[in-house]
Subunit: 752 residues, 2 copies
C-alpha cells in the first residue's frame, strides 16, 4: 500500500471552482433569484421557554403584498425517523423546531413565517402576527436542567440509555451512554498519582461565513425544487419529504456553492418552510437568515460539563480513568454525547475505565454537528489532565503520551480494535519537530494536546463520463466545501492517466447524482473518493473491453498502464492504444462510456493529531496571543496536500477561537447577548500566526489510496493545547473556556 | 415479442413536465437571465453573395456600453470534422457560417456581433459597423447553380461522389450518390406503362415556435457554461469545443426546455458567438434570434428538383424506376440528398432501379435537418407517380401499393434486408378504414400516399437512481420535445414495478448526463429508451443481489416479478421482498443503488405509414381545405399512445403546410420576402380538421419492448397525399409545391 506510486495524487493543482470563487461568480444560497419570487420572513419567539396560547395571523394575511402565512399548523408532526448513516434524525423534533407547535423552546425559535412581494412587506407583516405566550422559567444549564423540580422542556421525554436505564418521572435527560473496561476501582488503587478535575466549555457556533439561505419553488402539481446552501442535498430532500409527507422523487434539491458549514449546514431550518410558503403562494419563495438569526436559531454545538479522573503509575503508565460527560442538546434531544464518550479516551491504552455520558435538553437552540462533534470538549478534559499528570510526574508531555498511545491492534474504548493508525507516528514527529525545542520568551508558554476522530464512511455514488476528446466529466452528490471537486478530479486523472484539468468535476443535484450522504464526517475524500475511483476503474474496464474488441481478443487479456490499453500476447503485433486514441472510437466500439459506482463504507480510518501551541500572555490584562502553532496529523494519504494543510489550519484556527474567545453569552432569560461577529469574537487573520503543518501518511487499508479523512481531527487538540500553554505561562490550570482576557485575569488574581 | 404484457407501457399518464409547461413556469432559451448579463446583436449581410473587403468596428467598439465586438477573425476556421452518429459535421463550414470570413454566402449571413449593456445599445452599435462588400451575382436555384458559367460559391469545392466521380473544374455540386439494382433499360422495356414527371418543392422552414436563443458565461479560466435551446446539448458542446479549440470538458451545456426543433435545433448558430463575446467581455452574454433572423439565417430544408420515371406491368407490378434527385444545400454542402436517395424507393419492391442524387450549394441559408430529412420531397415524387400509375391502370391506389409493398426479407434499396416491418399492415388497415370508403362531396377529392423513414439509433446513456422511499430518479441527455420524459419514466416504472409518478425523469446537462446523441432521428424513445430499460434492469439486478444478501443465497438464484424479489428454492420459507421493502435497506445492504447503461445502436426499426387525405377545393379561387385526414403508421410499440398520436398528428400537420402553403419566396437578389409568420403561412388549428390516427404495432426486435420510433415518418406522406387529393378533385396533376391558391388557380386555368 505505502509503496503505491502516484502521478497526480500528492500534487497541488488549482481547484476547478477556484476562479469562480475568487472572482465572485460562484452562486451561494442567497444569490438565487427566480421570476415572481417572494421574500420570506420568519417570526421568532422573544422567550426562551413559553407556552404558545394562540397565534393570530389575520392582520398579517390581509396586508397588501402578503401571499402566504404559515404557522406550526402547516407543519405536521411526524412520528418517524430519518436514517442518516448510523444515526437517525427525529422528524417530529425537526418539524417542531421548524415552527414551534405548543411551546417555544428557545429564544429565537420560529413561530410563524410570511412570504410577501418584498422583504420589507414580509417583515412588516410578521410584526403584525399576534402570538400570546405563557412565559415559563427557562432552563439554561446542565445544573438547572438536572436540578430537583427543574422546569421540564418536554413532558413525555424519557431517557434513552445504553445500557438500558429506568427513567424516574419527568426529566430533561434525553440520553445516556456508558462504556467500561476492567476494574476501575482497582485501577485507581494501582495508581501512584490520581488527578481529578471538572471542565466546562460554552456554547459555540460554527461561524460559517454564509448564513442559511434557500429558495423553494412548488408547482401546482406539488413538485418542489429547492436551491439551498447545504452540506447534504439528499438530507434536505429526504427531511423535507419526511416532514411534509412527500415522495422524495417529488422534491429536487439543487445545492448552491456553500460558504462553510462545519456540520451546521446539515439540519433543515428554512427549506420545508419555503416549500410550504411556496405551495400556498404558488410562487417561488426565498428565505435568508440574518447573522443574528443564524446565531439564535441555527445549531451551535453543545456546552459541556466534564468530570475527569485519571490515575497513573510513577513512570507515567495510565492505570484507570473515570469520566462523566454532560452535553447540552439544546431544545431537542441529540447532542454528540455518544461521540464524546467514544472519543474521550480513544488516544490511550487504559486497562480500566468507566465512561458515562449524558444528553441534556435546555432552552437553547438545538445543537447541530460542529467539526468532530463532541470530541474537542472531551479532549479538553483528558488532554488537560494528561498535561497535569506529566507535570506532576515531571515527565515530558509528549513522552507520557507516547508511553500510553494506542497502536494497531489495541482495542478502542468504543469496542473494535484499531487497524493501522498513526498516533505514535505523529507523536514521534512532534518530539522531533524544531518547534518542540525552540526557545520561548518569559511571557510565553508551550502546550501540547492530542486529538482523535473516527472519520466517517457512509454512502456515496459517483459517475464518470468519458468524452470523445479524452476529457472526462465527474458527478458526485457532495457540495464542495474543502476542495473535494479537485481532489476527486485528481482521482479520476490518476486512474485514467489524464491531466486533472481535463476532468470536469460537478456537484450534482438530487436528480442527477446518485444518493450520497452529507459532506461531513471527513468522509468525502475517503468514501466518495472510493466511489470515484471505482467509477473511474469502471471506465477503464470498459476501455479495456473496447480495445479488446478492436484487437479481437478477450477483454480480460487486455492490460492497462499509464493511460494505455496494453495488447495481450495474442496480439503482440499491436501497439498499445491510449485513452485519447480509444475515446474518439467509443461510438463505433459500442457506444458511450459511463462509469458508475456506489459504496457504503461503514468503517473508516481513525485519525490522530498532536498540536503544539506557543502562547504569549499579558499578565496585566489577561490578553493572550498564539505566537507559534504546529499541527501534526496522520491523514492516511494527502490527495491534494494544499487542501489537507488548509483543513489542518482551519480546524486549528476554529479550535483556537473556541479556546480563547468564543462563547454564547446568555442573560438570565436565555437571550443571547452577543449574536453578531462584533461581540461573538472569532479569530481573524491578524489574531493568528501562520499555522505550520506536518502531514503524516499511515495509509488506511480501507481506501484504495490510503485516504483516511482529515477535516475534523484538527479542531480536537487546540482547546487543551491552548489551555496547557496558558498553564505553562501562568502556572494556573484553567478548566473553563474560553480563556478570554477577563477570565484569565480573574484566574491570575485568584491564584495571586 | 408481441406477447409481452405490460403494466405501464401503453397507458397515458400525464407528462411530468406538463404542469410547468401549461402554467408558463418552464424555462426556455430566452428565459435565462444572469447577473451582469450583456445582450448581443448579430449584424447580418444585406447581400446574398458578396465578397467582404473590410469590416471596420472602430465606431461600434468606442460606444459607451459596448463590451465586445467580434468578426470572423475571432472564429478560427478549423479543418476538421465532428462525428455525429454516422454523419460528420464540417467544423470549417460551421465556423464560416457562424461569422462570414471572406464571403457572405446568403442574405442574413452573420458578419459581426456586438455585446452591450442593453439590447438597444448593442443594436445601435451593430449599425455602426462598416462592412465593405463586393457584391456578386447570387445563385438561387439548382438550375442557376449547375448552369455553364454559374457563379461559384466556394472556389475549392469538389464533388464528393459515391461511386467516385471526377470533378471537372469549379462546381457548385458538392456531392453525388448513386444507387442501382438490376437492368433499368430492360425493366422499362418490360413495362406496359411508363410514367415520367419532374417535381419541385420549395425551401421550407421547420417553423418551431421558439427561435434560437442562448446565454453563455465564460470565466477568466476560459471555462464556459452555455444555456441553450437545443436538440443536442452534446452537439453544442462538441461543436463549440471543436470550433473554438477547447476541451469538451471545459464547456458545460445546459439544455433549457425547447419550444420545438424538428431538426432545426441541432446546428449551432449563436452558442460559439456567445462564448467568444462572453470571453471578450468577461460577462455573460445572451443572444436571441428574432423570428426574421430565424427564417433568414437558421437552417430550413432543401428546395428540390426530382425527376421520376416509373414503369409497371398492366397488373400494377413495378418493373423499373429511374430517378434523379437534386437537393439544395444552401450556402454550405450537406443537404439530405443521400437520405433522399435511400428513401425514395424504400416502400416498393422494384427489381430494376437507378437512383442518382445531388447536393448543390446555392446562396440561401445552409439547410438543416427537418423531420425525416430528404424523405418528404422524394415521397412527393414517387407517391405522385404511383397515384398516376394507379389511375392509368385503373387500379385501386392502395391495392397497387399493396402489390408492390416491401415485406420482411426484401432488400432495401440502400442495401440491407428489412427485418419485421409494417408497411403491408398499415396498407391493409387503411383499406379497411371507414375513411377510405366514406362518401365525398363534388368539390372534394381523396388522395393517399405512403411514407418511409429509417429511424435512427446512435448513442445514448441513462442513469437510474433508486431512492430510499422506493421512488426513482432518471437522468438522460435528451431534451424533451415530444414527451420523452414521461415515456422514459414509464419504462423505468414498467421495469421496477412502481408508479410512473414515482419516477422523476430529468434532462441532464453535459456534465451530469452520459454522452447522448441528439433528440432527433426518431431515436429517443428507441435508443435512449433502450438505455433507460437497461439502466432500470441494472437497478433490478442490484436489488436482486441485495435480496440475495438478506436471504444469504446466490444473487443469480433470486427471481424478480411484479416489483418483488422472489426467494429461490433454497429460501423457500422466505417471503418475497418488494422494491419498497428493499429500498430503505439499501445503505445497510451495500450502499446506494445507481443503475446505468450506455448503448450505441447502429440499427433501428424502419417505419412506414400511409395517410388518407380528403381535400375540398374552391375552383373559383384555388383555395383548398383539408376536410378529413387519417394517418396510419407502424410504430413498433406505442409506449405512451397519446404522444405517439401527437407525433403522427404533428407530422401530418407540418406536411400539409408544406403541401399547401409554405415556401420561402426570394426576390432576384436572394432576399427572402416573407420572413415572418404572417407571410410565411403555416397551418394553424383552424386550418386543419382533427387528424385521425391508427397506431399499428409490428414489434421491432431490436428494442426490448419493440419500439421503432415514430416522429418523422408522419411528415413524409402528406405532400403527395394532398397533391393526389388535389388531382382527384381537379383532374390536374400538380408537380410543384406549394399548392397555394394562386398556383392551383393557375393550374386550373392552364388545364382549361
Amino acid at each position: 500500500m505505502s509503496e503505491q506510486t502516484f502521478t497526480t495524487v500528492g500534487t497541488r493543482p488549482i481547484r476547478h471552482d477556484g476562479v469562480d470563487k475568487v472572482t465572485g461568480r460562484a452562486n451561494y444560497g442567497a444569490d438565487i433569484s427566480l421570476p415572481r419570487m417572494l421574500h420570506g420572513v420568519v417570526l421568532r419567539s422573544p422567550h426562551a421557554h413559553a407556552r404558545i396560547l394562540s397565534i393570530d395571523t389575520t392582520r398579517a394575511r390581509s396586508m397588501p403584498g402578503v401571499k402566504a402565512v404559515v404557522t406550526g399548523r402547516d407543519i405536521p408532526l411526524v412520528q418517524a425517523k430519518l436514517a442518516m448513516g448510523e444515526a437517525a434524525l427525529d422528524l417530529r423534533d425537526m418539524g417542531d423546531n421548524l415552527l414551534a407547535h405548543d411551546k417555544a423552546l428557545y429564544h429565537g425559535h420560529a413561530v410563524a413565517a410570511v412570504a410577501a412581494t418584498s422583504l420589507d412587506v414580509a417583515d412588516q407583516a410578521a410584526r403584525q402576527i399576534v402570538v400570546t405566550y405563557e412565559v415559563l422559567r427557562p432552563v439554561l444549564s446542565i445544573e438547572q436542567a438536572t436540578a430537583r423540580n427543574a422546569p421540564i422542556l418536554h413532558e413525555g421525554l424519557k431517557t434513552i440509555g445504553r445500557p438500558t436505564i429506568e427513567t424516574k418521572g419527568p426529566t430533561n435527560i434525553a440520553g445516556k451512554l456508558e462504556l467500561k473496561l476492567g476494574d476501575v476501582e482497582r485501577g485507581f488503587t494501582e495508581a501512584d498519582v490520581v488527578i481529578e478535575r471538572e471542565f466546562r466549555t460554552p456554547t459555540v457556533h460554527q461561524g460559517y461565513i454564509e448564513p442559511h439561505a434557500c429558495v423553494a419553488q412548488t408547482g401546482e402539481d406539488g413538485r418542489a425544487t429547492v436551491w439551498t446552501t447545504t452540506q447534504g442535498p439528499f438530507v434536505v430532500r429526504d427531511a423535507c419529504a419526511g416532514i411534509l409527507g412527500m415522495d422524495a422523487a417529488r422534491i429536487k434539491v439543487i445545492p448552491t456553492e456553500i460558504g462553510g458549514g462545519f456540520g451546521g449546514k446539515i439540519p433543515v431550518y428554512l427549506e420545508p418552510l419555503a416549500i410550504v410558503l411556496s405551495r400556498k403562494a404558488q410562487r417561488p419563495v426565498k428565505l435568508v437568515m440574518s447573522r443574528e438569526d443564524d446565531f439564535r436559531a441555527s445549531g451551535p454545538t453543545s456546552a459541556t460539563v466534564i468530570r475527569m479522573k485519571l490515575g497513573a503509575k510513577r513512570d507515567g503508565t495510565l492505570t484507570a480513568a473515570s469520566t462523566s460527560l454532560w452535553y447540552e442538546a439544546g431544545a431537542y434531544k441529540g447532542s454528540p454525547f455518544g461521540a464524546g464518550a467514544m472519543c474521550v479516551l480513544a488516544c490511550y491504552r487504559i486497562p480500566n475505565f468507566f465512561i458515562e455520558s449524558y444528553d441534556v435538553v435546555v432552552n437553547k437552540p438545538k445543537v447541530a454537528a460542529y467539526r468532530a462533534p463532541g470530541s474537542p470538549m472531551a479532549a479538553f478534559a483528558i488532554e488537560s489532565v494528561m498535561d497535569e499528570l506529566a507535570e506532576t510526574l515531571a515527565v515530558d508531555p509528549i513522552a507520557i503520551r507516547l508511553k500510553n498511545a494506542v497502536v494497531e491492534g489495541d482495542r478502542a474504548p468504543y469496542g473494535p480494535s484499531y487497524g493501522p493508525i498513526g498516533l505514535k507516528q505523529v507523536l514521534v514527529a512532534a518530539a522531533a519537530h524544531p518547534h518542540w525545542k525552540a526557545p520561548l520568551a518569559d511571557s510565553q508558554g508551550r502546550g501540547v494536546a492530542c486529538g482523535f476522530w473516527f472519520n466517517a464512511g457512509m454512502s456515496s455514488s459517483a459517475t464518470v463520463t468519458l468524452n470523445a476528446d479524452g476529457s472526462a466529466s465527474l458527478v458526485t452528490g457532495n457540495p464542495d466545501i474543502g476542495g473535494t471537486r479537485v481532489a476527486q478530479a485528481m482521482m479520476v486523472a490518476e486512474e485514467l492517466g489524464i491531466e486533472v484539468d481535463r476532468v470536469r468535476p460537478c456537484v450534482g443535484d438530487t436528480d442527477s447524482a446518485g444518493f450520497t450522504d452529507v459532506t461531513g464526517g471527513s468522509r468525502v475524500c475517503y468514501a466518495t473518493g472510493a466511489a470515484v475511483i471505482q467509477a473511474a476503474r469502471d471506465v477503464k474496464d470498459q476501455l479495456r473491453a473496447r480495445a479488446a474488441k478492436i484487437w479481437d481478443v478477450q477483454p480480460d487479456a487486455v492490460g492497462w498502464n499509464n493511460g494505455c490499453a496494453l495488447p495481450p500476447g495474442a496480439a503482440a503485433d499491436r501497439q498499445p492504444l491510449s485513452l485519447t486514441e480509444l475515446a474518439p472510437q467509443m461510438a463505433k466500439t459500442g457506444g458511450p462510456i459511463v462509469g458508475r459506482a456506489a459504496v457504503n463504507l461503514p468503517m473508516a480510518g481513525p485519525g490522530f493529531a498532536i498540536h503544539i501551541c506557543d502562547l504569549e500572555v499579558d499578565r496585566g490584562t489577561g490578553k493572550s496571543k498564539v505566537v507559534r502553532y504546529t499541527a501534526l496529523q496522520d491523514v492516511g494519504r494527502a490527495v491534494h496536500p494544499g487542501f489537507v494543510e488548509g483543513q489542518m489550519q482551519g480546524g486549528a484556527a476554529q479550535g483556537i477561537g473556541w479556546a480563547l474567545n468564543e462563547e454564547y453569552i446568555f442573560d438570565e432569560n436565555g437571550v443571547m447577548e452577543n449574536a453578531g461577529f462584533l461581540d461573538y469574537r472569532m479569530p481573524v487573520t491578524s489574531d493568528l500566526p501562520m499555522i505550520d503543518t506536518v502531514i503524516v501518511e499511515v495509509a488506511n487499508p480501507l481506501h484504495p489510496y490510503g485516504v483516511r479523512g482529515v477535516g475534523e481531527v484538527p479542531i480536537v487538540p487546540p482547546l487543551a493545547a491552548v489551555a496547557n500553554a496558558m498553564h505553562a505561562v501562568t502556572g494556573v490550570r484553567f478548566t473553563r473556556l474560553p480563556l478570554s482576557p477577563p477570565r484569565v485575569l480573574e484566574g491570575l488574581v485568584a491564584a495571586g
